[in-house]
């Protein structure tokens, strides 16, 4: 195994939001406005309420967009709320949002950010 180190991020959560196709951009913009660094989106096929609505079901697109956003626990409530409102998820058939607790996450962390973190830990210690 490589001896390179991993800067592990803890206290993070994954927000998953399922919306009708075409609605993802607005939800992502709201998430980023609230402080999320990025998001990934992919298409999925949904089923369920559309069938139950009969002829009214044509108003609900069967093609869905699934948005994944990883945020820190501090940002979680704010980002979640903004995404919920932007996706109009209080309207029946518009979509669904949920949060999954994560154990850890990792990505590229620039040296200057690492140094800043070390300095703040030393100051607190």
């Amino acid at each position: 195994m490589s001896k390179r180190e991993i800067t592990v991020l803890t206290d993070v959560a994954l927000i998953t939001c399922v919306v009708q196709r075409g609605f993802a951009d607005e939800v992502i913009a709201a998430a980023r406005d609230a402080g999320a660094q990025g998001a990934t989106t992919y298409y999925a096929r949904g089923s369920g309420v559309r069938e139950r609505l009969g002829i009214f079901g044509v108003a609900i697109d069967v093609e869905k967009e699934v948005i994944n956003v990883v945020v820190s626990q501090d940002q979680l409530d704010r980002v979640f709320e903004r995404m919920y409102l932007a996706g109009k998820l209080d309207t029946p058939g518009m979509g669904f949002i949920h949060v999954t607790a994560l154990e850890k996450a990792a990505t590229y962390v620039p040296e200057e950010v690492k140094e800043k973190l070390h300095r703040s830990v030393r100051r607190r210690g």
Partner: protein
């Protein structure tokens, strides 16, 4: 497989063996790297619980300066279910082999699952003719 293995019984159906404490590792990698990692997980780690799909990423692309903010790039999204005793090892493997520790290298995260069943592939008898054919048609 972990020590605690709850058995789920749904109605009168046959008991479903479910494993607790399994971890789901998800990696967002630059397009093309996902397949290499999938192969690595399958051939070298013996994991058949990995899946790969494409996703559209929205984030900060500093290369293009301010204009890059909000740019959309295609990413490979790998998801793999691993036993708890191998979770950290597989996490580190994907992180290093996927070269996530470089700018625009992607992102990786891991979470605990409440329950997961095992995924067993069917036994396939060795066919020497098929192997020979594969070797002949193998590209350079």
């Amino acid at each position: 497989m972990s020590g605690s293995e709850p058995e789920f019984n749904v109605g009168n159906q046959m008991p479903m063996p479910a494993m607790a404490d399994q971890r789901q590792i998800t990696a967002i990698l630059p397009t093309g790297i996902g397949h290499t990692i999938l192969e690595l997980l399958s051939l070298h780690c013996g994991l058949s619980t990995a899946s790969l799909h494409r996703a559209r990423g929205v984030g900060i692309v500093p290369l293009i300066g301010k204009k890059g903010v909000g740019a959309q790039i295609e990413w490979d999204l790998i998801s793999v279910i691993v036993p708890p005793d191998r979770a950290d090892e597989i996490f580190a493997l994907i992180f290093h082999e996927g070269e996530i520790d470089r700018p625009h290298g992607g992102f990786i995260y891991m979470g605990e699952l409440q329950a997961a069943t095992s995924f067993m592939l069917p036994e396939v008898a060795d066919d020497p003719d098929a192997t020979a054919e594969m070797e002949i048609t193998k590209p350079d």
